[in-house]
């Protein structure tokens, strides 16, 4: 018996070792995440205040309410357009910075570090600066406007300006890491391709079109997909900077999920909204991948 047992252990040494190592981590991950994952899909079809009563199955009712209520639809729209605005500006500015950082200059390392610093600060600590600057009275920006002889602006009452500052803050905090990835992409392109192109008589724009852009495709896909996932669930900085205001102009859906779910305990509607957001996030990522892969073929 004993020899049998030990030979079983010996014969299956690697699978058993793998199980013993992966098992505990996997188990803990599943304990924490399996229930939310399953419920995440089901919650949208229930009515529940999450406290005492049991959830009640209401089918598609929550989703119906979602798509028939203008404020939900406009929150979804705000998540999309504020999110995509943040993403586009960030990606574009980062690309510009990466081009500058890719030039043979002294002190590149210093600038690279400087641009990276905002991303290692907490959203909680740096939004306070923006809030203070935007104060209508005694705020730094209006003080500056007055010293140069312009009229002060009541920033917090203006949908345009609050959206603007959210985009500025998002870009400020994310541009460094995004530029680093662009830079890694630029530097991963084989320099001999440029040499060959030059010998064949390609101009600067042709080099960009036929060498740089195709070489950056995988990096662009990575940046866009991680970016889409990030902006589609962004609400922390919206909560701190504008509270969704003025009059709901920056009330993105993910912030609404937080308020529906954890302040009003309307878990069904929070679930339905998360479902819409989650599915849309996956869809956008797939669409982007699809376009990108199609481009790869030609």
């Amino acid at each position: 018996m004993k020899t049998n047992k030990s030979s079983f252990l010996l014969r299956n040494r690697e699978p058993l070792l793998a199980l013993a190592i992966i098992g505990p981590f996997l188990l803990w991950y599943l304990i924490i995440n399996l229930f939310p994952l399953v419920t995440g899909f089901l919650l949208g079809f229930m009515e529940w205040n999450g406290l005492t009563a049991s959830p009640k199955w209401v089918g598609l009712n929550n989703l119906k309410v979602f798509f028939e209520t203008p404020s939900y639809l406009s929150s979804l729209w705000k998540q999309l357009y504020i999110g995509l605005l943040c993403l586009t500006v960030n990606v574009a500015v980062a690309f510009f910075l990466a081009l500058l950082l890719n030039m043979p200059l002294r002190g590149r390392g210093f600038f690279r570090s400087a641009f990276y610093i905002p991303s290692i600060t907490s959203v909680a600590t740096t939004t306070a600066v923006l809030l203070s600057l935007l104060q209508p009275q005694g705020g730094g920006l209006n003080g500056f406007l007055e010293t140069i002889g312009m009229n002060p602006i009541i920033w917090t009452y203006s949908p345009f300006w609050m959206t603007f500052w959210i985009v500025v803050y998002y870009t400020w905090r994310s541009v460094g890491p995004t530029a680093i990835i662009w830079l890694a992409g630029l530097q991963s392109i084989d320099p001999t391709l440029y040499e060959v192109g030059k010998i064949d008589g390609a101009g600067r724009w042709q080099l960009i079109r036929y060498v740089t852009i195709p070489g950056l495709r995988p990096i662009a896909a990575y940046i866009m997909i991680t970016g889409i996932i990030a902006v589609m669930q962004m609400w922390d900085l919206v909560m701190l900077i504008s509270r969704g205001g003025p009059t709901g102009a920056t009330d993105v859906l993910a912030y609404r999920v937080y308020r529906d779910g954890l302040q009003s305990f309307n878990l069904g509607m929070a679930g339905a909204s998360s479902l819409v957001l989650g599915v849309l996030t996956l869809l956008l990522s797939f669409v982007y991948l699809r376009i990108f892969l199609k481009g790869e073929e030609d």
């Binding site: 803990w28 995440n33 290692i120 959203v123 203070s132 003080g143 460094g176 890694a184």
Partner: protein, 291 residues
């Protein structure tokens, strides 16, 4: 490159640097103000007329020191847990053969794609109804579960953390097996080989994992903001987030206090970054290239 072009590029880079550093400097200076004076200051660069250290001193005085310690504890725990997980599982995935290996690898990639917005509310429900915690019975009723429970800041683990497993597995796949095989022939066991041979070789990527997770955990303000209400269990970022969220809601606005605490909160990750940036920046870039 002509000198004029060079000048233009330096101008843009310098402008960018001023913009990136400005909020940190603002925060640092504004922490030296008196609350009422600051309310009417209206300055872009709030250099104080009178340098008061009372707000910075409040960090040691009342509420903030405990959250500061909690932040450190939490950082140690997650940097430790995720690094151990990444090294062990990444090594197993790269070197051991076992049934279901391919499937588990797909699992690791798939869980990273689950939108966290989908999990947010149900996770809260699960935490509130977790059995046998915080006064809950076996069915998860009767108590408050993990809500405002000190352990809630330590038990949660998201699918995104598997990115580090993936990264370590990639690093292992790029390493020839020669070193380990020599060690095995000399009679070294699995864990001995891992810790004495592999870990020293993979030091840079391990440093990346430790430091990136330390900074991310330190800066996470949403988890404590959502789950913790008791000051004793709060973290620093959560506490500052709470104060900032009150700036827009309530009447009394002690901006200088918020700025003093925010500045103190920014110091640890800033120090880590300044001294170890090689690992953080390169690790981040390599994650992008390989992902």
């Amino acid at each position: 490159m002509t000198w004029s072009r060079r000048l233009i590029i330096y101008f843009f880079l310098a402008l960018g640097t001023v913009i990136t550093i400005y909020p940190l400097l603002f925060s640092f200076l504004a922490g030296f103000w008196d609350k009422d004076l600051f309310g009417g200051a209206a300055r872009l660069m709030p250099i104080p007329d009178k340098w008061l250290t009372t707000k910075y001193a409040m960090f040691f005085g009342n509420d903030a020191f405990r959250p500061f310690l909690n932040s450190f504890l939490r950082v140690f725990w997650y940097a430790f847990y995720i690094t151990v997980m990444a090294v062990l599982i990444g090594y197993v995935l790269s070197r051991l053969r076992f049934p279901g290996r391919k499937l588990f690898f797909v699992f690791i990639l798939a869980v990273q794609l689950i939108p966290s917005s989908l999990m947010f509310i149900p996770t809260y429900v699960e935490m509130a109804r977790f059995p046998l915690i915080g006064g809950n019975d076996l069915m998860g009723q009767g108590g408050t579960g993990f809500i405002n429970h000190p352990l809630v800041l330590y038990v949660m683990i998201g699918g995104a953390s598997f990115m580090w497993v993936y990264l370590f597995r990639q690093a292992m796949n790029g390493l020839p097996k020669d070193y380990e095989e020599a060690a095995y022939i000399d009679g070294s066991g699995f864990f001995r080989t891992l810790f004495l041979i592999i870990v020293p070789i993979q030091k840079p990527i391990i440093a990346t994992i430790i430091l990136s997770n330390a900074i991310a955990t330190w800066n996470d303000f949403l988890t404590p903001f959502i789950y913790i209400s008791d000051q004793k269990f709060m973290t620093m970022a959560g506490y500052v987030g709470l104060l900032v969220s009150r700036l827009t809601a309530f009447g009394s606005r002690d901006y200088p206090l918020v700025f003093a605490l925010a500045t103190v909160t920014t110091i640890p990750p800033l120090l880590i970054f300044l001294f170890m940036q090689k690992y953080i920046v390169q690790g981040f870039a390599s994650a992008g290239i390989k992902g």
